[in-house]
Symmetry: C2
Subunit: 156 residues, 2 copies
DNA sequence: ATACTTGCAAATGATTTGCCAGTGT
DNA sequence: ACACTGGCAAATCATTTGCAAGTAT
């Protein structure tokens, strides 16, 4: 693609965009909130709240885990952030509308994660919709199963 | 059963079957373990460990939550029990090979759960397999999405 | 000035672990 | 007898909540 065909209209491309939306809703963007957003903008994949707190801490300032969670919760309500549960660990947070905006398949044997473009799951989605009427989403909870490698290693 | 068309060969149909398997592996079946199994055999759906402990308690005897978890863990390793995560609550346990042996779809709006026969998901499974090579299972983690009722109430 | 936010501490909920006494086999 | 088990208390892990002090608007 040379003349970039409208790169998916992203409502929040910069921290200031988010700040404006927060203020529009009567909220504020504190230094801590700004740092949370920076950490998310810098991440190239969904990350746990604890890592966000740590990264901010590495940057010199303090960020309490509770504050990290509170910020993520508010950002999520705003539609700026989302989180996924891959496996049994902590939830992983990411900005909405970024390259990290994928759906997931996880292997229950090796815990490997396959991130795919939502469009690649449309056939699966419509199959499910036809049968059960459900509008399936694999952004919050992934498709669990056995990956090709593990299946080959031990076809059970 | 008179001529019953081979009702899916269930390895463990009674508590004694399970007991034999446990002993074969060098384990024992204590009174507590037996009570856990009874609670599972009586349940008609996956139930949380805490409920198992409570039911046993209602029966007069005491069952520590930790013991309930330890028993469930061992039974799961044996292949007698499995557990599902529907929503954000505690894991739900059930016997393998029973009528409760379903796969699930959960609605993220109303938390409603739809239990379906595994066969009903075969088309979905093969679609996923063709595309990604994954052998999908919805017995441990369900398909998340929006149910028909919620979708109709508010098509977002 | 107001009320949204923070850090800190403590609470919650689910599940696990250490330990020693109890008990199937 | 031996080693698996159970009960109980305490520890973990992820996340939430109460609260007084701080601060964005």
């Amino acid at each position: 693609m040379t003349a970039s065909p409208a790169p998916a209209p992203l409502a929040f491309a910069t921290i200031e965009d988010v700040a404006a939306a927060i203020r529009a809703g009567g909220g504020r963007l504190s230094a801590a909130g700004r740092r949370v957003l920076e950490a998310l903008f810098e991440a190239d994949r969904p990350i746990p709240a604890a890592l966000i707190a740590d990264r901010v801490a590495d940057g010199g300032s303090v960020l309490d885990l509770a504050s990290a969670y509170r910020n993520l919760e508010r950002l999520e309500a705003l539609g700026v952030v989302r989180h996924v549960h891959l496996g049994h660990g902590p939830g992983l947070y990411a900005l909405v509308g970024c390259e990290s905006d994928a759906e997931y398949l996880v292997c229950e044997r090796c815990d490997g994660v396959l991130a795919v473009d939502p469009a690649e799951l449309d056939a699966v989605r419509s199959e499910i919709h036809e049968r059960f009427g459900y509008e399936a989403r694999f952004t919050h909870f992934p498709i669990a199963g056995v990956c090709p490698e593990c299946a080959e290693a031990d076809p059970a």
